[in-house]
């Protein structure tokens, strides 16, 4: 099929001419210009933050068999919780299942980048830690990965925020965020954080 560029251009030109013939009040034209500017500003901020500051929602498209997590090398029971590798990078591996997050209590340092890796062993869940940016959906069949930093030490709840069954409101666990100095003092072995 041959595309007739000249014809398409002529068509577009006709459409533009027709559009310019429409009566639009000058005041309304100004309003449309303001609206476009405001929307453009919002879009620009979001896009620049995403492209240059890496501010994105959790979006790692990674699949996993939710039915056999207990056999997996990464999410078997003894592999869960807070792990620090040789470079000091902290990864938190968590399993969501009706009706809790496992391990049920973890301790992490404040002011330190943490990479959470969440999986579901049954249905759809979601998790957020109030007053923080830690929020993600946990969809069975997928690993939800999110990297964030907690600015303030304290005791926080982890709350399930997606309907997962009649016990949905009972689905929560705890996280202790401790001061960075206390964390460095407490970590003797680089391989293992605290687990309760």
């Amino acid at each position: 099929m041959q595309i007739d560029t000249a014809k398409i251009l002529a068509q577009l030109r006709t459409w533009c001419t027709e559009f310019n013939a429409i009566h639009i009040d000058p005041l309304e034209k100004k309003w449309i210009a303001i609206s476009l500017a405001v929307v453009g500003l919002f879009v620009a901020i979001i896009t620049l933050d995403a492209l240059f500051h890496g501010i994105n929602p959790p979006s790692k498209v990674e699949t996993i068999d939710s039915a056999s997590l207990h056999l997996s090398t990464e999410f078997a029971e003894d592999k869960l919780g807070v792990q620090t590798d040789a470079q000091g990078v902290i990864t938190v591996r968590m399993v969501a299942g009706r009706y809790s997050f496992f391990p049920k209590h973890i301790t992490v340092p404040a002011e330190t980048p943490l990479t959470f890796r969440w999986v579901s062993m049954d249905v759809l869940h979601g998790v957020h830690i109030p007053m923080t940016n830690m929020s993600t959906m946990i969809v069975p069949g997928y690993v939800a990965e999110i990297t964030t930093t907690f600015p303030k030490p304290g005791e926080y709840p982890l709350l399930c925020n997606e309907y997962c069954g009649l016990g949905h409101n009972h689905m929560w666990s705890n996280i202790s965020v401790i001061a960075k100095e206390d964390w460095q003092a407490s970590v003797k072995s680089p391989a293992q954080g605290e687990q309760k």
Partner: protein
């Protein structure tokens, strides 16, 4: 050319819509009471989630779909001045949709479909729920077909003439709904019904969520377009003025219909099964679709200003006071715009990509959509009902005073209900919980807001009862002489001259939508068939 038969058809649809509405209002008040935990005798997760599921289905699917169908039939026959195309088919659609509702209601009310109106696989409900919901949608497709046939028949019979604005909006909505419902139809027909009947063992919840996201944003505009139609075609006339711009209204409806569709991933911002580039693309589209609402706000307020000044209003704001505040349509539009401003602000937060993490799935979200759907959209459904009832039933409205009180109460109740709801979200309360049992100090801060919400819900329930009472009393009035009122449509202040064909037809826009949908949903759906995925087996709840 609106015959008694068409009036009966429209009225039947509207009665089903509002019957669903009043039942769902009682459920809403029960839910806010149960969830607060103030009355321990009410505590029951199974009853709560059966109620939430039913409330969502009745409000979002039954009230809206039947209202839009009834309103559309009446708009088509009055604006095009031609009889309804295929009345028996229209009744067929009505009964099919109603049968679907009844079929879905049985499992919903018996706790066999407590999956919420958004389905949430791999949790699975009784198959009758999905089949009933499908029949409701198929019934609405009959309406779409009738609207589009009447639209094209009229255009063929009146070449070169401008399609009346109300019908243009209605036809655009029919096209929008056909595209919109395709996503959820694919999910239900190929995933949920086969899974619930045991024909397949597993499904991919990632694919299911992607298909549902296809539907989840434009469905909101399907509900909203009748409200915007009233803004443009009824409000200026009722206020005593003229429509500021007929052309901009058409442009607004087109941009709404086109850009409502390829942006559904703002519901999936926090999801792991879609990549960030697609989410950003849909996020930018979400901001584009704010434009027609900004234009609508301008045009409607400008039309109101014309009316206010014609009524003797002077000065910068003097025209506001001279508007006919005792006209139900005018009062409704003022209250609707107020709620739209606040709801729109919340919507910008939701739409803002990574910022969504702050409020995703918190109480903020139901607060937002109750304000903008339950507030802005539904108050215009009330206004349309008050306007249409005397015309459709041939009897004067039972009480205009009661109607005005009802509208004010709805606005006040909605403010009292949704303001604390938003705050609860910012305080970290998740949505969709049946009680607060987290052993955490944070929850103490939630209590006063939940108390306020109970009161807000009570005001709304009172308002809803007044609304239904007024309509029933109007309908049952035995002594009234037959009214022969007809709809009055607003005249534009500048007559429409030189309207390009592409602002008078949907053909081009249908193609644009197809291209945009392929771009924004093509690969994101295809990826599930390319990468290695693992299905989930069905779960109860």
């Amino acid at each position: 050319m609106t015959t008694a038969a068409t009036k009966k058809l429209a009225l039947s649809h509207l009665w089903v819509a509002f019957a669903a509405f009043i039942v769902a209002c009682f459920m809403g008040e029960y839910q806010v009471l149960e969830r607060s935990g103030f009355i321990s005798a009410l505590d029951s997760a199974p009853v709560y989630f059966a109620s939430v599921s039913t409330h969502g289905v009745l409000m979002a699917f039954v009230l809206t779909t039947f209202f839009i169908m009834g309103f559309g039939y009446y708009i088509a026959t009055t604006t095009l001045k031609q009889p309804l195309w295929n009345l028996p088919l229209a009744w067929g659609g009505f009964w099919l949709a109603l049968f679907g509702v009844v079929l879905a209601a049985v499992p919903l009310l018996t706790g066999k479909a407590s999956v919420l109106y958004t389905f949430y696989p791999p949790i699975v409900a009784h198959a009758a729920f999905y089949i009933g919901a499908t029949l409701l949608v198929v019934g609405s497709w009959v309406w779409c077909a009738i609207m589009l046939v009447m639209f094209s028949q009229w255009k063929k019979a009146n070449p070169g003439q401008t399609v009346p604005l109300a019908m243009f909006a209605t036809a655009a909505n029919a096209m929008l709904w056909l595209w919109t419902s395709a996503g959820v139809a694919l999910e239900v027909l190929f995933q949920l019904i086969p899974l619930s009947l045991g024909w397949i063992d597993t499904i991919d919840p990632g694919l299911a969520r992607t298909l549902f996201a296809w539907t989840l944003h434009p469905i909101v505009y399907f509900w909203l377009i009748p409200a915007y139609t009233a803004f443009y075609v009824f409000v200026p006339k009722q206020a005593g003025g003229y429509l500021f711009s007929d052309e901009m209204a058409r442009i607004a409806f087109i941009v709404l219909a086109v850009f409502a569709l390829p942006i559904g991933f703002h519901h999936l911002y926090m999801d792991p099964e879609q990549a960030k580039g697609w989410k950003l693309l849909h996020g930018i589209g979400t901001f584009v679709v704010a434009l027609p609402t900004l234009v609508t706000g301008f045009t409607v307020i400008a039309s109101l200003e014309i009316a206010g000044r014609l009524r003797g209003g002077k000065g910068l704001f003097g025209w506001i006071g001279t508007l006919p505040w005792t006209n139900t349509m005018v009062l409704s539009v003022i209250l609707a715009l107020l709620m739209l401003i606040f709801g729109g602000f919340g919507g910008i937060v939701n739409a803002s990509y990574a910022m969504n993490a702050m409020i995703h799935n918190t109480a903020w979200v139901p607060g937002h959509f109750h304000l903008i759907f339950g507030g802005t959209t539904i108050i215009m459904y009330f206004a349309i009902a008050y306007y249409l009832w005397p015309i459709l039933s041939g009897k004067p409205l039972y009480s205009n005073e009661m109607a005005l009180t009802q509208l004010w109460l709805w606005f006040i109740g909605m403010v009292i209900l949704t303001t604390p709801w938003h705050v609860l979200g910012l305080l970290g309360q998740p949505r969709r919980i049946s009680s607060v049992v987290y052993n955490n100090l944070l929850t103490l801060a939630w209590k006063p807001y939940e108390l306020a919400m109970i009161f807000g819900g009570l005001v709304l329930l009172g308002s809803a009862c007044l609304f239904i009472y007024n309509l029933v009393k109007t309908q049952l009035n035995p002594t009234a002489e037959a009214l022969t009122e007809e709809l009055e449509f607003a005249e534009p202040i500048h007559a429409v001259t030189a309207l390009p064909e592409y602002l008078n037809s949907l053909t081009l826009w249908n193609k644009v939508i197809a291209v945009l949908m392929v771009i924004s949903f093509g690969y994101p759906i295809l990826q599930f068939f390319i990468m290695k995925t693992f299905g989930s087996s069905a779960w109860g709840y």
